[in-house]
């Protein structure tokens, strides 16, 4: 039986006809996915029944809240295919996760150490390293990008040097849709004794995974892109490494002993969770990944592959010169398509698509300016898919684009 996106759509108030007056073809999922009712309900339930601070159980609410919070950690570990929940750190989002890594690992760097990232990184995987570069005189270098928008792994072998401490790259590009071959890369990285960080913001929504099999040392993602709440994210790291990593952010609930001169810290994950964590949101995130894992994930993947292909083929057939970024039709990609239309500004396209066709797209640099500079383009328009999207949404996109090019062209 074919995968039925309607079976997911019914879980979202916003997608049921009563919720909004006008039609909504939400194709901005790579920026933020919609959130299903059961995730909202899990948070409401927590806030109304077990609201309390965590990590210390001095009364019943606190104990229940702590238990719910730690269960959420275990649920995320499950989703990632990781056996030890203590490798799962709750953060404010993918960006917060990378910043924690940059600042913490930064404390272990020496002058002239190198961090290797790529030209297709999201700003969240560029700026934190530039901050450390400026502060400590390390060097940030960039793996080049292939013409079809993949990180050029053939260059990795000679760009990872003995001074390279960290290789930090996107696992799936939010612009080109390309997926990085983490297994191959992790081999090269570990041969040189460096650590591999994967930015999983765009791959985490793909369903339950076997993270250890990727060979990475760290993986970060955001709750709001996996049908979870805003305000929460995950930093996963290998226990042996986390154990030897000093914390860069300090506060309550992460200390062993605080002296006036010097303090000692708890073991991971608590060492990296300074202050009151996003308790309710962690519980929401757990509800989201459990919800997703219970769907027909294999069916979803096939469905999204098919819709992605329809978009790519449909756009190619429109007259007027649309250029699609990223891997060619048929190559593996995450379910998003970014494109340029000769002579049209992405914001104009988005506006007309919204106003006249109820299609929600995103236009601009998608927080990946170096990639756009490299490709010498001024911005792109992006359609990104999620579990509830259907052929109707693709029709609206393709018909809308035809109209759009007529009006603006």
């Amino acid at each position: 039986m074919a995968f039925d996106p309607g079976l997911a759509a019914v879980d979202f108030t916003i997608l049921r006809s009563q919720a909004r007056e006008e039609e909504l073809h939400y194709l901005d999922n790579a920026a933020m996915a919609l959130i299903p009712d059961c995730v909202i309900n899990a948070m409401v339930e927590h806030d109304t029944l077990r609201r309390s601070n965590v990590k210390r159980g001095s009364h019943r609410l606190a104990e229940e809240a702590t238990e719910a919070f730690e269960k959420a950690r275990a649920a995320v570990a499950d989703y990632l295919g990781v056996s030890d929940p203590d490798e799962v750190v709750f953060t404010g989002g993918a960006t917060a996760g990378i910043n924690i890594l940059a600042h913490s690992l930064g404390l272990m760097f020496e002058r002239n150490d190198e961090v290797l990232i790529s030209q297709l990184e999201h700003h969240s995987n560029i700026i934190p390293w530039q901050v450390i570069q400026q502060r400590q005189g390390i060097k940030v270098r960039y793996l080049p990008v292939t013409p079809d928008g993949r990180i050029n792994l053939e260059r990795a072998e000679d760009m990872i040097k003995s001074r390279t401490r960290i290789v930090s790259v996107t696992h799936g590009s939010n612009v080109t849709g390309a997926i990085t071959d983490a297994r191959t890369l992790s081999g090269l990285v570990h041969d040189r004794g460096a650590f591999l960080i994967l930015d999983g913001a765009q791959t985490a929504p793909g369903g339950p995974m076997d993270l250890p099999a990727l060979g990475a040392d760290f993986y970060v993602f955001s709750g709001h892109k996996v049908y979870g709440p805003t305000g929460v994210g995950i930093l996963w790291g290998r226990k042996e490494i986390l154990k030897n990593m000093p914390p860069a952010l300090g506060g309550g609930e992460m200390i062993q002993d605080v002296g006036l001169e010097k303090s000692t810290f708890l073991d991971p994950p608590h060492r990296f969770e300074a202050g009151t964590p996003p308790v309710t949101q962690a519980i929401g995130l757990a509800a989201a990944v459990k919800w997703l894992a219970a769907k027909d994930v294999k069916g979803m993947r096939g469905h999204l592959r098919r819709l992605t292909l329809r978009i790519m083929e449909g756009l190619t057939q429109l007259s007027g010169g649309i250029k699609i970024l990223g891997p060619e039709t048929g190559m593996e990609r995450i379910p998003l398509v970014s494109f340029c239309v000769e002579g049209l500004h992405p914001h104009d396209i988005c506006q007309v698509m919204n106003d006249r066709h109820g299609v929600a797209l995103r236009g601009g640099f998608h927080c990946a300016q170096p990639l756009h500079d490299f490709l010498k383009i001024d911005g792109t328009t992006r359609a990104s898919l999620a579990i509830y999207n259907n052929d109707n949404d693709v029709d609206a996109l393709l018909n809308g684009m035809e109209d759009c090019m007529k009006i603006l062209g």
Binding site: H347, D348, Q351, V352, D355, G379
Partner: protein, 146 residues
């Protein structure tokens, strides 16, 4: 239809604009950009004392930005710096105001009334004016008078 953000008048205006004419030996110029959009516009001016004699420059921007630049190119010539400044400020105020009519808009810019509701697009309309004001301030900086 004129309550649509992208109504015909604006789209036509944007299409009509030719934004690639460059001035020879401008007295001053400035480039401004909007990092959120990727809009980037260079404004070149020829001045005679306090009066704008010619204005041009390349615009890379959205329909709103192009239409706004096209209007500016049409009305700026002959304006005094102060007039331009107060027109820009009026337009900024009008975009932000709560009024539900277009009367507070400078006449030439009334077509932008529907932009009011779209805060994130205000800067698209304002960018050409900001460019012109920045160019003027460079001008004054160079000539030394304040």
């Amino acid at each position: 239809m004129s309550n649509d953000l992208y109504h015909e008048q604006i789209i036509e205006r944007a299409k009509r604009s030719d934004n690639n004419i460059r001035l020879e030996n401008p007295d001053c110029s400035a480039t401004v950009s909007n990092p959120l959009c990727g809009d980037r516009i260079t404004v070149e001016l020829k001045m005679e004392g306090d009066v704008i004699k010619a204005i041009s420059g390349p615009v890379k921007g959205c329909v709103l930005c192009k239409a706004s630049a096209s209007i500016l190119a049409e009305i700026a010539v002959g304006m005094k710096c102060d007039e331009l400044k107060s027109m820009a400020s009026d337009l900024g105020q009008a975009l932000k105001s709560q009024a539900d009519n277009n009367e507070s808009f400078p006449k030439a810019y009334r077509m932008f009334y529907p932009v009011k509701k779209h805060k994130s697009r205000h800067s698209c309309v304002m960018l050409p004016l900001e460019g012109a004001l920045k160019a003027i301030s460079e001008c004054k900086g160079h000539s030394g008078d304040k």
